[in-house]
Point group: C2
Chain length 227, copies 2
């Protein structure tokens, strides 16, 4: 059977895994510990962008000096707090995530994962999804120069799959995914499962918006190009 043209390039946190809100409060805890007072919704709206840009945002929105040392402590405190949520078992695949990936496999539709996180934190999520990074392309922050909203992660994922990025879908829950999709000239598909509203995703370039992986699976004919 000939390989289909439309590849599915997925974000991970908030798109396949229900983890955005735990990341948000883990950052809140880390920022509080450093005396950085930032409203929680502002943290939420930055989740999924590159850590370096997140640090730049902190530089602009607080008056405290942001040193390399402080950034390291922030990252460590966030990781500790997030791993506590993970240990409590509250971080799980989103409805339909495993089923959607199984469907794509069954249809021999190529897919990959591209995340602004590092392999260190992504590993647990991939296990929960039953994804073996030896068999499926998984591009993490470690492998590219710039993370989202730069397009590098998705470009690398398409390259690893050997597909044309212009024929690919970039599927994510944040505006950073949608902006990266536009910059890569891919088609952005937004999920509400990260807590952004429908219009926010559309305004950032999503050509379709679904609730979550289960909702996309139910409407997959709307986005999957045929041979």
């Amino acid at each position: 059977m000939p390989r289909r043209d439309t590849a599915f390039l997925f974000d991970l946190d908030g798109t396949l895994i229900d983890s955005v809100y735990q990341h948000v409060l883990a950052w809140k805890e880390a920022l509080d510990a450093e005396g950085l007072d930032i409203s929680v919704w502002r943290i939420h709206r930055k989740i999924g962008m590159s850590g370096g840009l997140f640090a730049n945002m902190l530089l602009r929105e607080t008056s405290l000096p942001i040193t390399e040392e402080r950034l390291d402590r922030l990252r460590q405190r966030h990781a500790d707090a997030f791993n506590r949520h993970h240990a409590q078992g509250s971080v799980r695949p989103l409805p339909g995530a495993r089923e959607l990936l199984a469907y794509l496999d069954a249809q021999t539709i190529p897919w990959a994962i591209a995340t602004s996180g590092r392999m260190e934190t992504a590993r647990h999520n991939l296990e929960a999804l039953g994804v073996d990074p030896a068999k499926v392309p998984v591009v993490t922050r470690d492998q590219v120069r710039h993370a989202k909203p730069d397009p590098d992660l998705f470009l690398a994922a398409a390259e690893q799959l050997g597909v044309d990025i212009h024929q690919s879908l970039v599927i994510g829950d944040s505006v950073w995914d949608m902006l990266a999709a536009q910059r890569a000239r891919a088609l952005g598909v937004g999920f509400l499962s990260g807590g952004y509203g429908h219009a926010e995703l559309q305004q950032a370039g999503a050509f379709r918006v679904y609730a979550d992986p289960a909702d996309l699976l139910q409407h997959v004919d709307e986005v999957a190009a045929r041979d």
Copy 2:
């Protein structure tokens, strides 16, 4: 000086206090403990509505029987988890909240608070804001038959202030506040500080949208009618 016509009727959680995300994960913890698997963003989108309607949502979105006993356990577990966040000190007034209330007092503009929560949980928040419920009308779930999106809480607040609800602003962070504003024929003002997007609030009826209390204070001439 004659009393101005425009009264300010505030929601509490997410509007004056930065507490929405802690409520969301406290509900997640409570639901998980009862074996009810609901995506976190779906919980987020229900925060601020009446507890009874929240329970109806659970009835529809899960297959487990929702008994009165289970609802009581859920409420207790949510309260315990939320109080843990409170004890950690992460729940604080939003930027500009105290300053906005002080400004209204200085201008002798009438204001009140109307929350879907109960006085039991609101008390900590009022203390943090420096609001004395003996001096300022505070309408809680305990005092009305129906909470948001029904208009009862805001109607009661206007009545306690002795102002015309049609000349009042209903200020909140959730679509439930904006729907209640429309049903009360008040003017809805939305805040982004609860994590809803701009368009969601506008579509629910907000005639203006600001980031948070600090942003409204900076633009208060846009909404405060003069004598």
